[in-house]
Symmetry: C2
Subunit: 482 residues, 2 copies
């Protein structure tokens, strides 16, 4: 920690690097967050004694946060691995309205183009109450950051939950250096303008409170710049990627998050994954494997992926008995009805495929909708073909992790509308995610690709996948604030 | 007719200027098409003895078309009002696939941004069979036009059903002068690119077979030009609105279709409409009237319009008992499940409004889902406020007809995403069609607007509405071919 208990480096994110759960026997248990991104940020924070500010996500966490001095978990005796974590005990209805009602519905939907415009969105008085909660939720973060930051500190704000924080924080503390990173895509102006005008402006000007704004790829950064020009009338330099706004110059940067190859391989070499690999080998024999791993998320396009596999089996019967599609679609946002319906649609198409093609000797599809991380890593190790076909995706890290883990020189069938497409084309087989026939043909091409060509392509894909691992990704943004 | 039975001016449209129906006692009946657009084109055709080529839309029409010499109805004794009409007896399954499966589903949906991208569209092998039918359907028109056109004739192709005709026709007859008019919006490149790449190109190059391409407003024309630049790599001059393609220069023109004021007023003065007006006066007394008239079409946004009215009644109780919303939502495309569901949603919200606000003395909503043209004209005559809030609309002629017919100096609440917005802003009250609260506030502003301001605005709206009546609109495009 810096002088007088203030921090020189702060991360703000909805989710913390640790969570507090109720363990066996009702006892409190502290769990460290998994994932390379969190570890990358934690290690950078730990170096300088920085602070992570997050929201309490459950009643258990709210109680813990209220008991801890100013929400600092370590000071209340929680084992945060030495990291200073401040958890904000937001009122549960404010949190739920901001998180489910706005962030994961409105903002997620608009950037992923998920709206069914004849019916959704509906911006009415009820929606405006949700928006008010999103403003308050962001303000709680801005207040905490303003109170905790040392003079001239760097504040790294994460993602679409906190789009208003940069400006709110600057209004409180104009000495700070503020960065924000958007992990989702950004909508082009015509879609972005579905939002109520004042709200669309508030999100843009909220972000423009930062000194530096990060995106995964040029496409999303440029869509953001187009929104600033078209909807704010801001002075945008598209080639330098800067926005002049209220007398300041905001820099927009590309930071395509990659994966930490060595760590991934170590995790995937542990016993639980080895057991999964042995199990799959037993089950699949020497058949080719088309693997996919996703949250069951509307944007992930699992249903069209299954339809493409079905069309492959219909149009190319030579693959009958010789290929298995291993699809891990773990549950997500099951409190939203659209997501429950989508999960049901995934399972329905899965059953249809089994009924149409399954034989006594061959199960064409292994579809798992349970949450089993080791099993999903096992599937990636076994992949001959990796299918990543989202309708839209900020980056898609599975496309990078799969290339790192495949032991079979996997070919990649990739949606042109994933952020990773910028780095992966033309070594991945690029598809229009709405075009099931094109996807089926790409699967056939991938399955048929000679080994030397796959090796050659994978070498370059691997370099792209590991070019900017999380720790470097974070440092790059810290440097951009200097 | 020109020399040797060939025509010097031809119109091609899916729907003809006459239809053949089964009348009382099973006898064939020829009906003239209504609507200003058809009359405008018919009068121009009649002057020069031109030909209208259309599809047979029913079994009855197919039989008639097959019996007539080369499909020429007048030669078979049908009373076409002196106009030469050739009806194409297409195979019913080809017609239905092209018309319902492609034109009214894929093309309509992509240009109106109606896709629910998590689930639709799905471009698979089955869809490609539909697309093949659309190609054949267009080819039947191109064949007929090529056979009927005199040397150097002008051919005026109508709308999204026939996007491939210009190129197909040019390949057969490069002496002709070909125009095409798009009555729908045009999708921006990011949405247009949902189409399979080859199909997207085929539609663009199909249209670029014409010499002149017409759109209702700059927004759709510019979206088309952007698609040509981004997806074809064509040489586009955006300020001159030209496209260089295959050695030719294609001109893109703006022809904002208007209404024939005098004719509209004459029709609306007939007895059936007078009876409707008398009926409404009885029913409504001296209450203010918010009127809307639409097909029950996903893009027309009737549900959000009703929600806005409900929000008005909730937030501005001073209007209780003083206003009635008269909404004519006549049936459309009832063979598509999305449309049946949408009609049910309209009726559901309608009932909710009646239950929440209705009293013994006041029915807040008069919702009619039947097809009653005279009654809808009566509603327009009675309008104090005209509500036109489509999520997207090529033009929206009701916005023009309503301004012509209102006897109460109506104020207009208008979606910024209708083609007519270009001509009506700022005299209409412009709204974001997704923003129910903004729409409710605009209704309040419209209801509260002092008479002098309404008169002032309406004068300018009326001038815009009648600036380019159908006959002039058609002549303008004929001239553009010279």
């Amino acid at each position: 920690m810096a002088d007088s208990g203030k921090s020189a480096l702060l991360v703000a994110a909805n989710r913390g690097p640790v969570s507090i759960a109720t363990g066996a026997g009702g006892k409190e248990e502290v769990r460290r967050g998994g994932g390379g991104l969190v570890s990358g940020m934690v290690s950078a924070l730990s170096e300088v004694g920085g602070l992570w500010v997050c929201a309490a996500l459950s009643d258990r966490e709210r109680t813990a946060a209220r008991r801890a001095p100013e929400g600092h978990l370590a000071e209340a005796g929680y084992d945060t691995g030495g990291l200073d974590v401040r958890m904000l005990p937001l009122d549960p209805s404010t949190f739920s309205r901001a998180y489910n009602g706005i962030a994961n519905s409105t903002i997620w939907f608009v950037h992923h183009l998920l709206y069914d415009s004849a019916n959704t969105p509906v911006f009415d008085a009820g929606w405006r109450r949700l928006w008010g909660a999103y403003e308050r939720y962001n303000r709680s973060f801005a207040d905490a950051l303003a109170a905790e930051a040392a003079p001239g500190a760097k504040v790294m704000v994460q993602d679409y939950h906190l789009d208003l924080v940069p400006r709110q924080l600057r209004e409180r503390r104009d000495d700070l250096r503020i960065a924000h990173f958007t992990h989702t895509p950004w909508a082009p102006p015509e879609q972005y303008a579905m939002l109520p005008e004042a709200v669309g402006r508030e999100m843009l000007t909220g972000l423009l409170g930062a000194d530096h704004l990060g995106f995964h790829c040029a496409r999303w950064a440029d869509a953001f710049l187009a929104c600033c020009a078209d909807l704010l009338g801001a002075d945008v330099d598209r080639s330098a990627r800067t926005v002049r706004w209220e007398g300041r110059t905001v820099q927009v940067g590309l930071h395509p998050l990659g994966t930490a190859g060595q760590e991934m391989r170590e995790r995937a070499g542990q016993d639980d994954v080895e057991a999964g690999v042995a199990h799959l080998r037993d089950l699949l024999g020497d058949r080719k494997v088309i693997a996919r791993v996703d949250r069951t998320e509307l944007s992930k396009n699992i249903v069209r992926g299954l339809r493409a596999y079905r069309e492959l089996l219909r149009s190319r019967p030579e693959w009958h008995g010789r290929v298995v599609h291993v699809a891990y679609a773990y549950p997500s946002r099951t409190d939203l009805p659209e997501y429950r319906e989508y999960t049901a649609a995934v399972q329905r198409v899965g059953r249809e495929i089994e009924q149409e093609f399954g034989t006594d000797d061959w199960d064409p599809l292994l579809l798992e909708v349970a949450n089993d991380y080791p099993a999903s890593l096992a599937a990636l190790r076994m992949a001959d073909v990796l299918l990543v076909n989202p309708v839209r995706d900020g980056m898609n890290l599975v496309a990078k992790e799969g290339v790192v883990l495949s032991e079979r020189e996997c070919a990649v069938v990739l949606s042109r509308d994933a952020g990773v497409a910028d780095e992966y084309a033309p070594d991945a087989l690029m598809v229009n995610p709405y075009d099931v026939t094109e996807t089926a043909e790409a699967l056939h091409t991938a399955l048929s690709m000679p080994l030397p060509e796959r090796q050659d392509r994978r070498k370059r894909l691997l370099a792209a996948a590991t070019a900017l691992p999380p720790a470097d990704w974070f440092r790059q943004q810290l440097d951009a604030l200097d």
